[in-house]
């Protein structure tokens, strides 16, 4: 059921891109490449690894393994409106409705036989222990070997070495699983491609800071967390270049992603994955734009081609969501200033202890730099809990409050 759907999706986007080569297409190209990745995952023709969110996907690409983080399946099923039966399946198997629905979604999909059987699994200790438990569950379900990467909180030299050594051990594990050694030249090529994609994406993010921003509501959704699946490949470079070029053209021509941009908002963690009218309503009714998503950032230096394991370890340790809360707060403060945001929205995804544990501290930290925070109570994957009216009232009151502070008027004339 899933494979034909993804093939149809990819074919539709390809046809659309062919029919109008001059359209704004970065998001379409991104979706197309992810669909192509999905085809490879579900085709049964390639070596597949289900992983944790912060696994080194480019390292797996270098060794010829197609990989994806398991939570992607939960989010994607929500996006296409197919997650509810999977959630119910997981709940019937005993998973609490208080647990993370990304994880319940993927567990349900596995129990329903809708997840392709992997060759092996790679768990990561960040961003959350729920993700580790889910990967371990999948390992047992498929009776496949699991390698667990412990990403420490210490980002100093000892932490970097500790993690780099685990990556080397992971490569030993993977090459033993697939019976094929790591090719040093392929590893180098993959890291070069990662670095090229990184540089282009960094430029795209810098361009998105423009006033008005060239980004539209869906452009940036899930970009920073999903694009790493394409790192180490030409596809990653192409998608990052498409974003950079589209944003550069718009900024040069002073074309706003949302004409009449009035309010600039920051979104913490992940967006609501299932179809809902809130983002469109924010844009159309209030000219409020989600200019920055917390996970859309390059916080790591280019990978040193002579010592890639160290570079990959530094990259993983640099991700603010996985480290100490003080670092996450400083990072959010910096981005709030850089993107000139008027307010921040924290969806506080139900069941996410990692995301909501620091909620009060994050709120206080952003207030210190003059950014009000709206904490919602929303399940980003499970549509059964969605109450549009309740959420709209909270969002609308937040917008009214921001407007009452004097934001939302000064930029009217600069928008196209």
């Amino acid at each position: 059921m899933i494979l034909p759907y993804i093939k149809e999706l990819a074919a539709g986007i390809e046809a659309s891109l062919r029919s109008d080569p001059n359209q704004d297409s970065a998001r379409k190209r991104f979706t197309l490449e992810i669909a192509r990745l999905g085809i490879r995952l579900f085709s049964g023709e390639e070596r597949v690894a289900w992983c944790g969110v912060f696994a080194p996907f480019d390292l797996l690409t270098a060794v010829g393994v197609t990989s994806c983080f398991a939570e992607f399946v939960g989010g994607w099923l929500a996006t296409i409106g197919a997650v509810q039966p999977m959630l119910e399946k997981a709940e019937q198997a005993g998973y609490s409705t208080d647990s993370c629905s990304y994880h319940r979604g993927v567990i349900g999909a596995a129990l329903e036989g809708m997840m392709p059987e992997p060759d092996f699994l790679i768990a990561t200790s960040t961003p959350c222990s729920g993700g580790m438990a889910t990967t371990e569950n999948l390992s047992r379900h498929f009776s496949k070997d699991l390698f667990t990467i412990h990403i420490p909180r210490d980002d100093g030299p000892e932490g970097v070495k500790y993690l780099a050594d685990q990556y080397r051990a992971m490569v030993d594990f993977v090459t033993a699983q697939i019976g094929q050694p790591m090719d040093a030249a392929r590893l180098r090529q993959a890291m070069e491609k990662t670095n090229r994609a990184r540089a282009l994406l960094d430029e795209a993010y810098a361009l998105a800071q423009a006033v008005p921003t060239p980004a539209r509501r869906r452009d940036m959704s899930n970009l920073g967390i999903v694009l790493p699946l394409l790192f180490g490949s030409e596809a990653g470079i192409e998608v990052a270049r498409a974003y950079r070029d589209e944003f550069a053209r718009k900024v040069k021509a002073k074309i706003a992603g949302v004409p009449g941009e009035r309010i600039r908002l920051m979104w913490l963690q992940n967006r609501i994955q299932f179809s809902n009218p809130l983002e469109q309503w924010l844009e159309e009714e209030h000219k409020a734009v989600l200019v920055f998503d917390e996970l859309n950032q390059i916080c790591w230096d280019p990978i040193d081609l002579e010592d890639p394991y160290i570079g990959l370890a530094r990259r993983a340790l640099s991700i603010p969501l996985g480290g100490p809360i003080e670092r996450r707060i400083r990072n959010l403060q910096q981005h709030a200033r850089a993107y000139r945001v008027d307010g921040a929205i924290n969806p506080c995804h139900w069941g996410c202890r990692q995301g909501t544990g620091g909620r009060g501290l994050v709120e206080r930290g952003l207030k210190e730099v003059g950014v009000p925070v709206l904490n919602l109570e929303v399940d980003c994957v499970d549509p059964r809990h969605f109450s549009e009216g309740q959420l709209r009232t909270r969002l609308e009151a937040f917008i009214e409050m921001i407007e009452g502070r004097g934001a939302g008027g000064a930029r009217l004339e600069v928008a196209s």
Partner: protein
């Protein structure tokens, strides 16, 4: 219909413009009509019932009829509440947070923290002392501790919801009831009645349950609430037991304006006057 805020200059002259605020809540639909000087001409509260459109029509007809003016004399209409998008002819829909803030500033100037408990939600709104919202929080996930909660508990106690407020007179105990779930709390009440627990103690326990839930919301907005000028609006503010319990939980005095149900509609009417100007 009562005369809460009628003042000088409120007689309809036939040439003035008037401004209407309509607050469509889950339990009641409220309207306030003001004149160009901001004086209240008339107000009305009706049950929302199954049809919010019917309730809107009724409440509008009641205030216009009471003031003796025609629809054509309305300078602007602002709607608020969960059904705010269903009001025909509105200049704009504004959230109840903003409207309650504006309304309480008119009734109790200088209010710094407003607690509003309506039919299905509760809010804590931090104000700057001039009616502008600085911060707010609303109840999460479910409607326990709101007007619907009290309705269910009154039903279990076999009293009218208006009687609940005075039922805790003389209660001394510290009975604790679930503040997390209306259904569980209702069955707790039924069990307590069956065990012979004094109704006053049960009522006190219910008021404390609401206060417990609400004080967390208020302190989330501003932990230093005990030093602020705190007011309460919404239908639940008519329940002196809840107001007392919340005041004790927050360690502060809570002022309730006259006719606390219509604070949102009054704010909407005042915003209508500003925007029309």
């Amino acid at each position: 219909m009562g005369i809460g805020f009628r003042g000088p200059g409120s007689e309809a002259s036939g040439f003035d413009m008037y401004y209407l605020g309509v607050d469509i809540g889950s339990l009641t639909c409220d309207a306030v009509l003001i004149d160009e000087d901001g004086w209240v001409m008339a107000w009305s509260v009706v049950p929302t019932g199954a049809s919010s459109v019917r309730a809107i029509d009724r409440v509008r007809a009641e205030v216009l009829g009471a003031a003796g003016i025609r629809s054509e004399d309305l300078g602007a209409v602002i709607s608020t509440g969960y059904g705010r998008d269903r009001v025909d002819g509105r200049l704009a829909a504004v959230t109840e947070i903003t409207c309650h803030a504006r309304g309480i500033q008119r009734l109790l100037p200088g209010t710094e923290m407003l607690v509003d408990i309506g039919g299905q939600d509760s809010k804590a709104v931090r104000l700057d002392g001039e009616g502008r919202v600085v911060e707010f929080a609303m109840n999460d996930k479910c409607a326990a501790g709101t007007g619907r909660f009290l309705e269910a508990m009154a039903r279990a106690l076999e009293v009218e919801v208006d009687q609940l407020g005075g039922l805790d007179d003389g209660a001394r105990g510290n009975l604790t009831l679930s503040s997390m779930c209306t259904v569980f709390a209702e069955s707790e009440v039924v069990s307590l009645i069956a065990e012979g627990t004094d109704v006053s103690e049960i009522a006190r326990g219910l008021h404390r349950a609401i206060a417990s839930r609400t004080q967390a919301l208020v302190k989330r907005v501003d932990p230093a609430v005990s030093g602020l000028r705190v007011a309460m609006s919404g239908g639940v503010a008519r329940n002196p037991g809840v107001v007392r319990a919340l005041g004790a939980a927050l360690d502060c005095d809570i002022t309730v304006p006259p006719e606390p149900d219509i604070v949102g509609a009054l704010g909407a009417a005042l915003i209508a006057r500003e925007r029309a100007g």
